[in-house]
Symmetry: C2
Subunit: 334 residues, 2 copies
Amino acid sequence: MKLCMIGVRGHYESVLDALPARPAMQVAGISAGADGDDVAPLVRWCRANGHAARVFDDYREMLDAAHPDVVVVAGPFERTAEMCIEAFRRGAHVFSEKPVAMTLAELDELAAAHARSGLHFAAMMGLRYDPAFHTAQRAVRGGAIGEVRLIDTRKSYKLGRRDAFYRSRRTYPGTIPWVGSHAIDWIRWFTGREFETVFATQSAQHNRGCGELETAALCQFTLTGEVLASVSIDYFRPQGAATHGDDRIRAVGTEGVIEVSGGKVLLADGDGERELAAECDRQIFRDFVAGVEGGECLISAADTLAVTEACLLARQSADEGRLVTFGERGKGGE
Amino acid sequence: MKLCMIGVRGHYESVLDALPARPAMQVAGISAGADGDDVAPLVRWCRANGHAARVFDDYREMLDAAHPDVVVVAGPFERTAEMCIEAFRRGAHVFSEKPVAMTLAELDELAAAHARSGLHFAAMMGLRYDPAFHTAQRAVRGGAIGEVRLIDTRKSYKLGRRDAFYRSRRTYPGTIPWVGSHAIDWIRWFTGREFETVFATQSAQHNRGCGELETAALCQFTLTGEVLASVSIDYFRPQGAATHGDDRIRAVGTEGVIEVSGGKVLLADGDGERELAAECDRQIFRDFVAGVEGGECLISAADTLAVTEACLLARQSADEGRLVTFGERGKGGE
């Protein structure tokens, strides 16, 4: 199985983590995907780990020359959809940084290209493999809290120093699709329900020279069955905090409440309150390859597309200051 | 100073807690305010504590006969505004259960009656006097987290057994104004800002025979200066949980984050993370009396009316499924 890697932005390291255990999987090509992005560390890693990867200036040339089975997309946000589409057109499965599209028009084009291809497609929703979130989700879907009625989520990041591409909506999808995408994914993943409406707000104040980057945002979703869900997002986590992110979820059900906080999973139900052991025996890229091979995996193409749509509709709600109904844009064309 | 007490629903015990230290303050009259509500325990308390309180069937007769300086209103929700207005008309200060009105029309009438009276008026926002919330609010307003940008709040209650009046909107204001009012009050109190818009959702599913009572709700406010705030409300707290309520706030500022959770106050800022000692040396009814006497107190009439308006507009948003802008109803009449 041949791999091509486009870009070194985002979470492509999860691919490298999985390769040593799969010697039959070879990195055949590397392309920066954006002028000025430095692929040298990735090239060094390949040489040190027995991958005879060629480096290409143009990622399309690479796809044509290397005939990869799998393409890893972690280039500039504004070219993610295009890169995924080019890969599908050449018959390659795609493992992509999220969000997989910057606009709804791009998303529709990407969804159509994927549907025609019949190939595997997954976004880098790495927090599905975090031991605490993984354990909590399995408990909830296993019935530990009865029927889920309400979900609250939190994504709080340090602002730190940000590359220039974070400053503009041309090169950064906005904070709701970038930071919030994980939380929006959890909501759908924990409930197994589909989104119906979203209202969101955001503010770019106090972003320390980061242009248009929003430093705070809130989303409020309603899912099928009147399940309510909230997302709280900010870039104000103090620089001195122990971890980069403060990631939390609280799922409230008819029979109990489960919370993930600080890497711990706490369940409260009729038997009292107790901690569940956090564990995950899966790895995101290993799982992706299982999906390629027709096996079971955690992140489907349907998940990838649905979460991207939810991110973009939430951003639209915040941009336009109005309630957005899922499916409303489809209706205009009928 | 003479006191009359109308009704035994809600948090009137905070009045009794404050009386032993103020022997000059006498309970002169008691009225149930609702057919079937039992005032016997309150009458017994008065006898045991040296208050020669007369019991009246009709609260208006009581107000006319007893000439109280202060009226405590904790009767049926649907008569709260009327009872407050009748007290103001007779020149009495009012300490009332919240929300102080069930509808915006009632609220406008009440605000006008209060404005004409020049009397002190405060709702029973008891959680302002909770040591943890009190300490966190003082830290935030003292600048501990810089400028507040985002607030997340939680009110989670056990459903337990509920009196029949909780089952109908005629006799219960809805879960957003009843349970959520505390959180809505915190948001304004912690930020010192005014509300601009609200979007809210709610569901009455799985309320175990409680009629119209909503078991879950979310509110999302925007305040002046693009400050964002969320409220999460539910009645699904497991019966076996250690406390009736799980009350939380998280205020995110430009220089730090403060959280109240489980009665503890945690501050994270440039110096790391630490717990603040939770303390409050004030008592809500003692504070109310200080306000009557022209002194400093935590809950003003302006707070009482503004929070009630925010509760009712949030409920309206959820009922009508639309974004509600504060001040929009005033504009029609200009």
